[in-house]
Amino acid sequence: MANIILPGEDRELNRRSFLKVAGFGAAALATMTVVGCNDNDDVVTPTTTTIDLGSGDTGVLNYAYALEQLEAAFYEKVVATGTATGLSSDELAIFTDIKDHEVIHREFFFKALGTTNAKTLLASQVNFTAINFNNRASILATAKAFEDLGVSAYNGAGKYISNADYLLAAGKIVSVEARHAAIIRDIMVPRSNATGSFAGDDVVAVATGLDVVREPKDVLAIANQYLYVTLTANNIK
């Protein structure tokens, strides 16, 4: 790799090779700085720079893309950890399904955005230090948080979409996220509990029967806890 890569340089080739290693697919628009590289030891220092997801439908798609990347990275790590997670084989099968779905969602949004517009996160920008991947309860709690968060994010972002095709695509995905949330919750909580269950009173309002909804800034405030960079959606409106 090049010794020093500066923002604004044509760094496509280097970036591709890095990302391939990092397991994050193709290009990233997120600003990154590579320092102190030599032939044997590339040290990547993620910037603390805020990354704004953009405006219009591209912004909304990047917002969804960011969340799907986060989810996919989480489930990939769970599946890679395997039985050391403490999950049963049945549960691991469910997590493998969900991992597959989230990877597909990630790739779907990358394709929809295209290389030029897609804001791809680097593996090094993901911060899962709060998650104990060798602890079943930690994994389940995180999965539940991500899935409920995803549902609330899509529910809140629909109104910002201008293109009906994108709205439909988001609709196709959000209900699968809701299915994930329900199944994870069903694993965690006895069905006799009105709160915490598949469609518990903690997420579905009793009076209206409406699921959770969050604005992008509120979603990102949570999602950013799992990142070393700060995502903003100040221009999605």
Partner: protein, 253 residues
């Protein structure tokens, strides 16, 4: 939108106005009962008042009202289905009752919510006796669960299929999305209860109405992962006609 915002405050004034006038016009159609009977089944009427396909998406206040009325009608069917099941003796085992109580609670809330904004069920004018149409599905718990799964999976597809018609009214769109994801939670739970995955592989209906699953296998592209996961990762929309075809067998007198 804050979940606790009174819904009435969030509906566009123009929509409210039209809903009100629509309600009045329906009230004057009190003799509709006869017309309903003459026209035949409930689903036929449902279909008559809904757009046929996604290709010609209407975007107008009237379109929004049409969707709300369509939604209310489906919710009334679901509500009636769970009320009947939850009150039937020897149908739902005690261990599973909390699931259906929870789902029934939501469907009743959806009905109340949609009614509160003035939505009008399309044709439940007393000629369709909801409490009498379920005899065939209330005799067996296995059948009841299969129908519940069909209704929930279809509900997901129904809302998805008409979301674009709500784009002119962002608040109503958001509410519809919030109902949509709840139906998906229900669907997943019932599928799991039945021993299936919470997500739909291909057209897997598990004995539910096959009409409800046509097109569910649709592929949204080529991905690094292949196999069932590709169809599972996306739920597909369903036209109003197909929704009607899927649910009518459980409700027509």
């Amino acid at each position: 939108m804050d979940m606790k915002t009174p819904l009435l405050d969030t509906i566009e004034p123009e929509i409210m106005e039209r809903l009100t006038s629509r309600r009045n016009s329906l009230a004057t159609m009190g003799k509709l009962g006869l017309a309903v009977a003459a026209m035949g089944s409930l689903p036929a009427m449902l279909a008559a008042t809904t757009t046929k396909a996604f290709g010609s998406v209407k975007r107008s206040p009237q379109a929004v009202i049409d969707v709300l009325n369509y939604a209310l009608t489906l919710e009334i069917l679901e509500d009636a289905f769970y009320k009947a099941g939850n009150s039937a003796s020897n149908l739902i085992p005690a261990a599973d009752q909390p699931i259906f109580t929870q789902i029934g609670k939501h469907e009743a809330a959806h009905v109340a919510l949609l009614k509160s904004v003035g939505a009008t069920a399309l044709d439940l004018g007393g000629t369709v006796k909801l409490d009498k149409v379920f005899t065939t599905v209330l005799t067996s718990y296995d059948v009841y669960k299969a129908v519940a799964q069909t209704l929930e999976d279809t509900g997901v597809r129904a809302y998805k299929g008409r979301a674009a018609e709500l784009m002119s009214d962002k608040n109503t769109l958001t509410i519809a999305l919030q109902i949509h994801s709840v139906e998906a939670r229900h669907a997943a739970e019932i599928r799991r209860l039945r021993g299936f995955k919470g997500w739909i592989s291909g057209q897997e209906n598990g004995g539910g109405a096959p009409e409800a699953y046509g097109g569910e296998e649709f592929s949204n592209g080529n991905f690094s992962i292949t196999g069932n996961a590709v169809s599972e990762a996306f739920d597909e929309p369903l036209t109003a006609d197909a929704v009607v075809a899927a649910v009518q067998k459980y409700f027509v007198v």
